[in-house]
């Protein structure tokens, strides 16, 4: 019991860190699904692209002599480049792989998304490297940058991840709730044709949605690199799966649901690793998913569908 309580705060922090990243990925899934009812299976690879772009910025400014500019600035630059790059690539993918299929049978864009996923992964493999890349464990944030709160020791990188993710999510909430374009986004997701009749440029809104979703995933990719120091061209697959799971647990289409689902999944994995066994963390995550869906078939924050007759 004692060990249980002594490990608790640390596990919570770990879970929240992981959960924040899952939440960032889940948001993109959920937003795109909300508007197009499309399961964007290439989303995980967009996150991977973000991680690589961030790494590209890192090696540009972090030579063997050390950082050319302040570390904080490098991190900001990494985020900016990764988010913009991921966003742009996602728009290109939407334009060429999804838009021609908007009125096709539901499963066609799904297969197209898998094709895109293959292309992105293997393009990175060919042009960058098939081997994992590494940041080096204390290059960006020193190993001793630790905040102590009683017994709890939190590494600065974890605070950075949680903080950054929270800022992005707050910004997104403000954008969707309070701005004209955000209102248009909500309108399109409730009734695409109805929104078009109000003069909303639906394509513009869809492009915007893909951009924002991909930018968040790209940020997630950079943040993961900062905490776990390494990246690989196949990293998008499992992360995408987790993001998708989180989105569904929260109720796909619902943005607060995606965040909640992401955090829950992260916490579940952290707790399983600590209290059960790290080997079972994926199993537990999926069992949790199945259980939640059986109790609440439309996800935690999704709206139950009333059958229309």
């Amino acid at each position: 019991m004692e060990t249980f309580f002594s490990l608790l705060p640390q596990t919570l922090v770990n879970g929240l860190t992981l959960g924040s990243v899952y939440a960032l990925i889940a948001l993109g899934y959920s937003m795109v699904y909300g508007i197009l009812k499309l399961l964007n299976f290439a989303h995980g690879d967009i996150y991977m692209i973000g991680a690589y772009l961030g790494y590209g910025v890192f090696i540009m400014f972090f030579t063997e002599q050390g950082a050319l500019i302040p570390t904080a600035l490098i991190i900001v630059l990494m985020l900016v480049v990764a988010m913009t790059g991921a966003g742009v690539i996602s728009i290109v993918v939407e334009r060429f792989a999804y838009r021609p299929l908007r009125y096709a049978p539901r499963i066609a864009p799904l297969i197209s998304a898998l094709g895109v996923s293959f292309i992105l992964q293997n393009m990175v493999q060919i042009t960058v490297s098939p081997r994992p890349l590494s940041y080096g464990s204390d290059t960006l944030i020193p190993r001793n940058a630790i905040f102590e709160l009683g017994d709890l020791r939190i590494h600065a990188s974890r605070l950075l991840v949680i903080g950054a993710a929270m800022i992005f999510m707050l910004f997104l909430t403000y954008f969707v709730r309070q701005t004209r374009l955000g209102r248009a986004m909500r309108a399109v997701s409730t009734d695409l044709d109805g929104a078009a009749m109000m003069g909303v440029d639906v394509n513009q809104v869809i492009v915007l949605t893909f951009f924002i979703g991909a930018a968040l995933a790209g940020a997630g990719g950079v943040l993961v690199g900062i905490v776990f120091f390494s990246l690989r061209h196949t990293m998008g697959f499992l992360a995408g799966l987790k993001g998708f799971t989180a989105a569904v647990v929260g109720g796909i289409g619902s943005m607060p649901g995606a965040v909640l689902g992401g955090l829950l999944l992260g916490l579940a994995e952290a707790f399983t690793s600590v209290y059960l066994s790290a080997t079972y963390k994926d199993v537990v995550a999926f069992v949790m998913l199945i259980f939640i869906l059986l109790v609440k078939p439309s996800g935690l924050m999704g709206k139950p569908l009333l059958q229309k007759v």
């Binding site: 699904y33 499963i107 493999q125 060919i126 998913l289 199945i290």
Partner: protein, 520 residues
């Protein structure tokens, strides 16, 4: 009511206005369906028409005899010389893989194509059957206290048992997940598939109450090997070619059985569920039970394929055989072939087992790459004159560029250390290839994707399109020679991915699938 034939989009002024005015209040044919007339345009239309005139039994027999002959025909000296290989083992192996995947794809088609359920855990049934076969037909199961030193259950007993057990699991999963609809079903089944693989990977040291030491249930990623061959009525299947014919028989039986089911009350009910679940239920079809039935039949077919496949391969390994990658492959086969169309699904399985194998050799991949490019370009640029002009233009500009580089910056062009086949040399003759070709190749490969997409965007504007097209051809050839051909394993999947995207856009309903009308 005068019907306006096909001619979509283009109208002639005299039509419509001149014909008799419509009578008010008669709502006869609202829908004047041009598709009532068979489309016979072009060569492919002619071929399809010819093919469909052959009676069904004959068509079936023709394909079947072709499949029977493949291992024999490819074993002739003439054929082997043609391909320059010493034996046809590789071909028979690929053909057998095709049959396994065709079986699996037919099972998946029952679930996804007929009942319309997005089952992303299908591959787990394949895996469960594989592992069950491994337990029942190898030395793996050893229980000292009972004196069991490996189970070797006869195939005639074990395979039906495995099918029954797997179908039961299918029933269980179906019953649980059918409380959910649509995409939620997809995620729960995906979760099930993941749990299966994870459990197999991790159940290597499980503590059980009746044992002191932890038990290794699966041997993790190493899998279980040295499985028994299938023995039926005293005949043991040993070589790949023997398994090929076994799978062929199974495929034919399953194909016919599923086809008969589809054209019966069950098939009609499945299709009506896919169209409108509520209406189907209200018209007396027990939708829940029918969907579970599809799940169970799918699982049963997967179990049949999985157990015999395990025997053929002689081992079971969780990754990649039973992982999501296989699932993706199966979905590609089903969707590409045309969801709901049995023949289409088999063709899809053929394409997706043969294509990656063919692409393994970079020489063949090169031929395919340039060949498909040239043919695709021809259809894009018809008539031939324009096509030839563009190609000649591009190649001569390439030579001009090379000439300029060689005279002005003589150090820039160094060529590749290994120029490759004659085809590669021919292409390289008009490319400028610098010394650090890998780095430049990386950049150009990235850029060429961009230029290609720009070219597609500009297709309505000839003055932009043709120059851009020339540039993309040049850049793609450069990418291929400097990077893609050097990384065959990644390129293979890159090409498969591109094929998926392009095919979905060109034919979203698959090769043999029928486009469905949703609302009118």
């Amino acid at each position: 009511m005068p019907s306006d034939p096909s001619e979509n989009g283009k109208t002639t002024p005299e039509k419509g206005a001149g014909t008799e005015p419509p009578r008010i209040g008669t709502d006869e044919w609202v829908a004047q369906v041009a598709s009532r007339k068979r489309q016979t345009r072009g060569f492919s239309g002619w071929l399809a028409m010819r093919w469909e005139r052959i009676p069904l039994g004959w068509r079936f027999g023709m394909v079947l005899s072709l499949l029977i002959l493949i291992p024999l025909a490819t074993n002739t000296q003439a054929f082997l010389d043609l391909l320059g290989i010493s034996n046809n083992a590789f071909i028979v192996r690929t053909a057998t893989r095709f049959l396994v995947f065709a079986l699996l794809a037919i099972g998946l088609n029952v679930v996804v194509g007929y009942a319309g359920l997005l089952d992303l855990g299908y591959v787990a049934f394949y895996g469960i059957a594989g592992y069950l076969y491994a337990y029942l037909s190898s030395d793996f199961v050893r229980i000292g206290s009972l004196g069991i030193d490996g189970l070797h259950v006869p195939a005639l007993l074990s395979i039906p048992l495995i099918i029954a057990v797997t179908a039961m699991v299918g029933w269980l999963i179906g019953t649980i997940s059918l409380r959910l609809s649509g995409d939620y079903l997809a995620i729960v089944t995906l979760g099930f598939g993941q749990v299966f693989v994870q459990l197999v990977l991790t159940s290597t040291r499980v503590r059980v109450p009746w044992q002191d030491r932890p038990v290794n249930f699966t041997r993790g990623p190493n899998g279980i090997n040295r499985l028994d061959d299938v023995t039926l009525f005293g005949y043991t299947f040993e070589s790949t070619i023997q398994y090929y014919y076994l799978f062929l028989v199974l495929l034919v039986l399953v194909y016919i059985g599923v086809r008969h089911l589809n054209f019966s009350r069950v098939g009609r009910a499945w299709r009506s569920i896919r169209e409108d679940e509520l209406a189907a239920e209200v018209m007396g079809a027990p939708t829940g039970r029918l969907k579970i039935l599809a799940f169970v039949i799918g699982a049963g077919i997967a179990a049949l394929a999985g157990s015999v496949d395990a025997a053929w391969q002689g081992n079971v390994v969780p990754v990649p055989r039973y992982s999501v990658l296989t699932l993706i492959n199966l979905y590609a086969m089903v969707v590409l072939g045309g969801i709901g169309s049995l023949t289409g699904v088999v063709i899809g399985a053929f394409i997706f087992t043969v294509l990656p194998e063919v692409l393994r050799s970079s020489a063949v991949a090169g031929v395919l790459f340039y060949g498909a490019g040239l043919i695709g370009l021809y259809f894009l640029l018809k008539p031939f004159k324009r096509y030839a002009l563009i190609l000649i233009g591009t190649v001569s500009s390439g030579f001009l560029l090379k000439f300029l580089v060689l005279t002005l910056l003589p150090g820039l062009h160094t060529g590749l250390p290994e120029p490759g086949s004659i085809l590669n040399q021919a292409v390289q003759s008009w490319l400028v290839i610098p010394a650090d070709y890998k780095l430049v190749g990386n950049v150009v490969t990235g850029l060429s994707a961009l230029v290609l997409l720009l070219t597609i965007l500009a297709r309505q504007r000839p003055r932009l399109f043709y120059p851009l097209l020339g540039i993309s051809i040049y850049m793609l050839a450069f990418s291929w020679e400097t990077r893609l051909a050097l990384e065959p394993s990644a390129t293979r999947i890159l090409i498969v991915g591109a094929t998926l995207v392009v095919l979905m856009i060109v034919r979203p309903h698959g090769l043999l699938g029928k486009p469905e009308v949703r609302v009118v």
